[in-house]
């Protein structure tokens, strides 16, 4: 049992990554009603931008990080322009299929360029970490948690306190009405894509030193972020964050106490159980009646 605190620390840290990606995911659902199946590939792209800028071009770490995130916003807009915009009036299924196509395209472009062998990226800090009681606080795990908390808090402030945040919320709640008020709805949606891509990219850069940078990273993170969304309640922001933490903790504990090879399966088992038992998720609003 003495392992438990250490495992919880690891679980919360990994869960933070899922939460960050899930956050980007849920924002797209809320602003444009898009279920983006390439959300995980945003993380992969972020990590590979970092590989190019830092390992390839030899830029200083901080500069490379900032540039990579900026590139991700551009990438997010391009992504929206190609996979979403032409299909915006055709219902949900074509957009879902198109984002799945995009995820395959991106993963395999990277595979063709870099091959299957993982790339290595360093963490934010050189130091390895320190002990608190009998829990070893790895510096990278700790910084992931801190950055996630800061980003979530920041996003809350932006959404609740600024005019832009309120316009984004308005757009997500009633697009036509937002346009009637003079809110540039299209810019809002593309902006959400850019932000969501940046968030995913940052998550990818943060997790890279732990998981290594490989092609599979995107799909793995993406499906778990989606599972986090459903477990937390589809379309709910606090739900996405909590769902991320829950999956991170459960799979870390599961890997330690039950089975390592099936580590990635725990999220899906939880997902299917939640769908059967409580389909609206932990924080879900009741599924509205419509006719």
């Amino acid at each position: 049992m003495s392992m438990l605190p250490q495992l919880l620390f690891t679980g919360v840290s990994i869960g933070s990554i899922y939460a960050l990606v899930a956050l980007g995911f849920v924002l797209l659902i809320r602003s444009a009603n898009i279920v983006n199946f390439a959300q995980g590939e945003f993380s992969m792209m972020g990590a590979y931008f970092m590989v190019i800028l830092f390992a390839g071009l030899g830029l200083p770490y901080a500069l490379a990080l900032v540039l990579a995130v900026v590139l991700m916003t551009v990438f997010g807009v391009a992504f929206a322009w190609i996979t979403y915009w032409p299909l915006r009036d055709r219902g949900q299924v074509p957009v879902i299929i198109s984002t799945i196509g995009a995820s395959i395209l991106l993963a395999n472009l990277i595979l063709a360029t870099y091959g299957p062998s993982p790339q290595v990226l360093p963490g934010l800090f050189d130091g390895t970490g320190f002990l608190v009681g009998n829990v070893f606080m790895d510096s990278q795990y700790l910084s992931i948690i801190v950055i996630t908390v800061v980003l979530v808090a920041l996003q809350y402030l932006v959404f609740e306190k600024t005019m832009v945040g309120k316009k984004l919320q308005a757009t997500s709640q009633d697009r036509e009405m937002a346009a009637l008020l003079g809110i540039p709805v299209v810019a809002m949606i593309f902006g959400t894509f850019a932000y969501s891509a940046a968030l995913g990219g940052l998550a990818g850069i943060l997790v890279a030193p732990i998981l290594y940078v490989s092609v599979g990273i995107g799909a793995m993170i993406g499906v778990k972020a989606f599972a986090a969304n459903i477990i937390g309640g589809f379309g709910s922001i606090p739900g996405a964050i909590c769902g991320g933490f829950i999956i991170g903790i459960v799979e870390t504990l599961g890997a330690a106490y039950i089975s390592v090879p099936y580590k990635d399966a725990f999220a899906f088992v939880m997902l299917i159980v939640v769908l059967l038992v409580r389909p609206q998720g932990l924080f879900g609003e009741r599924i509205a009646e419509k006719a």
């Binding site: 299924v93 196509g101 395959i104 395209l105 395999n108 499906v223 389909p279 009646e289 006719a291």
Partner: protein
């Protein structure tokens, strides 16, 4: 007549195709590269046909077809190699195991929206790959299973390459014929109705959940069938042949060929089995091309290659002018009787704090035309939605012919004879006018239900509304007003006990409104009970025997037209509170 002949055509085409492929298999090289390609194409197409049924017919996303392919393949491989079962027994087990798994998976997720299904199927796909790789004691793990034998059938030895290919091709032809027949069957039409409009499908008597689950089960079983044959074809399988990437390849095949038809599955699979050979120079990037192709197909070619061909070259023919018997419900005569056929008591529907309907009584006499009127937002359509079962009542009871139906789902109410139309037209856009109306005729309680006479009944209903000439056209090609008539014909083809019309004249111009009034008059007096909502008072006063007026979710007047229109509260509800000097 109509369906029977096209069914025969499909069977003849299938027979010819089976002979042709057998011949082709005999002259095909008995070994080597092209044989392998053809085996792969044939076995994959069977699985892709499953996707055509679930995605193309039923409109549900399944991203785990490679998992079902894998389940079928592993059942055959483990069954024959480890447990010494005969090939065809192992194959049957594979089909059953995949099918049952598919039904279970569908059960867990199909009540929810498309994205849940997409993600759960991805998750399931990944779990299957993980189990195949890691459960080494059972599945042999990542090394895979070599030495899978091919079967013999009685005295016929199917072990030779080209003979086995012949078997695969015959199965493929059978599956294609099955898929084509399914599309024209009652189940297939139900699937397409669910795809096009779930709400209308449910009030046409289709059990949405069961239809989707069956589609998913068929898709999974076909995946298992293709996989089992695949195992025999290559005599060696390993987990990496059944990954998520392969699931995407299968999906791309279906989309490229066109998900509307099994022919699309054949075209898409052949193209994509050959494509990697042509794209060999791209090496690993070929999957990236697949990904790009998926996006491009969605944007530029949503109906796939076969869809393009059909759209351009295949023109449907109008129906012949052969006379059909008129609708039986018009042959009846029936005066308005005193029997109450629809009895609604204390009905309430609250949405949170909003009391859309709040304790309304409604007694509809058999054979009468009963109008439900009131200003916008007074609760009329909500009332209709509760009566037909789309909404669950907050309080009150609904009785139809003395039977309490308050708790029944929409499709069971339809079985008891309740048919309706919608204010915002809900037709099945992917189907022709005739097919839309045939779905109405297939109502479970209808006298012709389950027979070929449904087509004749549908034509009779189209004759009644005057749309026989356009019966062969896709319903979306019709002008708005005519789509309303399609909805009415769809309801009438089911010989309803009670017909509920929600604003049949909305969006019609003055001439069309006149025609609608004439049509309703022709319908009147034959014993069919009609409940009608409309805002056009001139239409209402022409047809109604009885009027109930709602305002703010409550009943403010009830009686014959003359007295209701003079009721001061009704005048106030429509024109507003009278100004003092006017009063």
């Amino acid at each position: 007549m109509h369906t029977a002949s096209s069914r025969k055509n499909i069977l003849i085409a299938g027979g010819v195709a089976a002979l042709a492929v057998l011949g082709a298999a005999v002259v095909a090289p008995s070994d080597g590269y092209y044989l392998n390609i053809m085996m792969q194409a044939a076995t994959y197409t069977i699985a892709v046909a499953g996707l055509v049924i679930v995605l193309g017919y039923c409109g549900q996303i399944a991203l785990c077809q490679a998992a079902f392919l894998g389940i079928g393949a592993y059942c055959v491989a483990l069954g024959t190699v480890d447990y010494g079962l005969p090939f065809f027994v192992a194959l049957a087990i594979g089909v059953v195991v995949s099918g049952v798994t598919g039904i279970f998976l569908g059960f867990a997720t199909l009540r929810l929206g498309g994205h849940y299904l997409a993600m759960v199927t991805i998750g399931f796909q990944m779990i299957v790959t993980m189990v195949l790789t890691n459960w080494i004691g059972f599945t042999h793990g990542p090394d895979g299973i070599p030495g899978i034998p091919r079967p013999s059938l009685g005295l016929v030895d199917l072990k030779g390459g080209s003979v086995y290919l012949g078997l695969c091709l015959v199965v493929l032809v059978a599956v294609t014929v099955y898929a084509a027949l399914l599309k024209q069957s009652r189940l297939g039409r139900a699937m397409q109705a669910v795809r096009d409009n779930e709400i209308a499908a449910s009030t046409c008597g289709i059990n949405i959940f069961r239809t989707k689950t069956v589609a998913f089960g068929i898709c999974a079983a076909l995946g298992g069938l293709g996989g089992g044959l695949f195992a025999g074809a290559f005599s060696y399988i390993s987990p990496d042949q059944f990954t998520f990437n392969e699931a995407i390849v299968l999906l791309t095949m279906a989309l490229l060929g066109g998900v509307e038809s099994a022919i699309g599955a054949v075209i898409g699979t052949i193209l994509l089995v050959l494509l990697p050979e042509w794209l060999r120079f791209l090496r690993q990037a070929y999957l990236a091309v697949y990904g790009g192709a998926v996006i491009a197909i969605m944007i530029f070619m949503p109906r796939g290659v076969w869809g393009l061909v059909v759209g351009r070259f295949v023109k449907s023919r109008p129906l012949s002018d052969d006379a059909t018997a008129p609708l039986p419900l018009l042959a009846r005569t029936g005066e308005v009787s005193d029997t109450i056929v629809l009895d609604v008591t204390g009905l309430a529907k609250h949405f949170g704090g909003l009391k859309a309907v709040d304790g309304v009584d409604l007694a509809v006499r058999k054979g009468s035309v009963h109008a439900l009127i009131g200003p916008n937002g007074s609760g009329k359509t909500t009332m209709l939605n509760v009566i037909t079962g789309l909404y669950v009542a907050t309080a009150g009871r609904v009785r139809l012919g003395g039977r309490d139906i308050t708790e029944l789902p929409p499709h069971d109410r339809n079985r008891l004879g309740m048919c309706r139309t919608y204010q915002n037209i809900r037709v099945f856009r992917g189907l022709t006018v005739l097919e839309n109306v045939v779905i109405g005729a297939e109502r479970a309680g209808n006298d012709v239900s389950g027979t070929d006479a449904t087509v004749e009944r549908a034509i009779a209903a189209l004759d009644f509304v005057g749309l026989r000439q356009v019966a062969h056209l896709p319903v979306g090609d019709l002008p708005y007003g005519h789509q309303r008539y399609v909805e009415i014909a769809r309801a009438l083809a089911g010989s309803p006990e009670i017909l509920l019309l929600d604003e049949p004249a909305a969006g019609l111009n003055l001439t069309e409104k006149g025609e609608m009034a004439a049509l309703l008059k022709r319908l009147k007096g034959h014993g069919t009970t009609i409940v009608i909502i409309d805002h056009d008072m001139r239409l209402i006063e022409k047809v109604a025997d009885h009027i109930t007026v709602l305002n703010f979710g409550r009943r403010i007047a009830d009686g014959d037209p003359r007295s209701v229109f003079k009721h001061p509260e009704v005048v106030a509800a429509y024109l507003g509170e009278a100004r003092h000097e006017a009063a």
